[in-house]
Amino acid sequence: MATKLWVFIEQFKGVIAPASLEALGAARTLGGGVTGLLFGQGVGDLAQSVIAHGADEVLVADDASLADFRVEAYAALLVKLAREHAPALLLAGATTAGRDLFGAAAVDLEAGCLADAVGVKLVGGVVQAVRPVYAGKLLADVTFASGGKPQLVTLRPRAFPKPEPDAGRTGTVTSVAPALAEDAIGVKVLDYVIEQGQVSLADAKIIVSGGRGVGGAEGFGPVRDLAQTLGGAMGASRAAVDAGWIPYAHQVGQTGKTVAPDLYIAAGISGSIQHQAGMRSSKVIVAVNKDPEAPIFKVARYGVVGDLFKILPALTAEFKKRLGK
């Protein structure tokens, strides 16, 4: 019998989280039957996309009580289904929802939960994963004690490639009922406060970040121009955030966001160990700094020594030309 691999498909207002698609791709590489779990309200239409991205089967729970991700409702259903079907391995993106869901479900299932893997394989049915620890300063090999329990693993966003959808793939779609009635769910969602036009740093392919070297809030102008030209998001060091030049949501590092874009451009950032903790797994790092001794050059693939107020506008102009903007 094929190993049962389950993937939690996280969606927000009908859009599937990129990390869930990456998890589907990862599941496919492990060999086995892949089941997507799609919970929400009015989400049935997404099942086809889940199949196209690698699932053989989708379990869809469609109910008003599941409209928002609420860990009580989602975990109760996940646990009920897992008890019925005994999957060997469950994967989710290591997002706020994925971590909460798997942490809660693991308690009920008396199973183990492994957070934030950047590599995963199955050896004789047992997960062997790699995850960053000590704020990304070290890596650990992690595994589960044997015991026939489901193994719950969350995958760091952008650590696994997103599969190309294949519209020709086929699979089955099965409806399942929610496990909890609305009045059994303690947390009520009143509202969302969403800032418009914000690119999620965790999902960004390109990030341009500014540090103390930008000298002030206006100094983020050239950083923003370059980020926009490249279609990327804007990041910052803690020094720039603490100075009040840019909101905390942009902070990259140990006490900010952990990011792994294809391209990370650090401008006016010295490259402290805490900043590196949040960005050193980026694919290509570019440093722009006037101090050739700055530690950021030790992790960068390319560097430009000079004044960011001259280099960044030159880069923006160059890319506008190349990208035909």
């Binding site: 000590y134 009143l190 006490t255 694919k283 440093a287």
Partner: protein
């Protein structure tokens, strides 16, 4: 309002971390986990606003008393260390099991506060797992406690998610996992430091909590860490691109296009 704040002791975030013979070493002291400072601050603010008591709770070795003293110096009323060799090797879920028992033993707790994650293990699983064990409202990633109605025993909070902020209400007791934006942690006062120096930190053993030996320590943990090692060095030295800003920009554009990252 009876508040508990769970804290861990971790290496200083500025420490150089290395691995020697499979053991993790660092070149600086141990500190209160930086994320937990926000939880401690929030605990103190809750008790200042609503009255009652703030108790700091830590599962760790004897040396972790220092982290608890920091909590007292900041303003916590009491501190409890759970220290027992049988708990060594507990993974996040086993740790949560023990902390949940300890929170029950403290008794009549309205809010249990947590940091976002511990900067050594970095799992971020303990707060949700404690909430699940206790069956309390799971308010992880809380960026603001907007309102607590101590009479009606309700809480309104803002949680920060990838998509934006979510406004939720729930009944107390609640587990509140904090994030950095929630407040600005205070520094310990001179009086606080004196109080902490004299503080009597209670030490609880697994048996005091009635913990099931099969659920704690290495034996009770499902997750194993067979090895830990440094990151592979980033290959090759940095390639510096020189010339005028325009020349450097053109060279860099060539490189990045060749790397297919643009």
């Amino acid at each position: 309002m009876n508040v508990v704040v769970c804290v861990k002791q971790t290496p200083d975030s500025a420490a150089k971390i290395a691995v020697e013979n499979g053991q993790v070493t660092w070149d600086a002291g141990l500190v209160l986990n930086p994320w937990d400072e926000y939880a401690v601050e929030e605990a103190i603010r809750l008790k200042e606003k609503h009255g009652g008591k703030a108790t700091a709770l830590c599962l760790g070795p004897e040396s972790a008393k220092e982290a608890l003293k920091t909590c007292v110096a900041m303003g916590c009323d009491e501190a409890i260390l759970i220290a027992d060799p049988v708990l060594d090797g507990s993974d996040a879920l086993a740790t949560a099991y023990v902390l949940a028992l300890a929170i029950q033993k403290v008794g009549a707790v309205d809010v249990a506060l947590f940091g976002k994650q511990a900067i050594d293990g970095d799992t971020g699983l303990v707060p949700i797992a404690v909430a699940r064990r206790l069956g309390w409202a799971p308010l992880t990633y809380t960026v603001q406690i907007a309102e607590i109605d101590a009479g009606a025993k309700t809480i309104k909070a803002l949680r920060t998610l990838e998509q934006g902020k979510q406004v939720v209400t729930a009944k107390l007791p609640a587990v509140v996992g904090t994030v950095k934006e929630i407040n600005e942690p205070r520094y310990p006062s001179f009086m606080g430091i004196r109080k902490a120096a004299k503080a009597n930190i209670a030490v609880w053993k697994a048996a005091d909590l009635g913990a099931d030996a099969a659920r704690v320590g290495t034996a009770g943990s499902a997750v194993r860490w067979p090895s830990i090692y440094p990151l592979p060095a980033r290959e090759g030295a940095v390639e510096l691109l020189d010339g005028s800003p325009e020349e450097a920009a053109a060279k860099l554009a060539d490189k990045l296009i060749a790397e297919k990252v643009i």
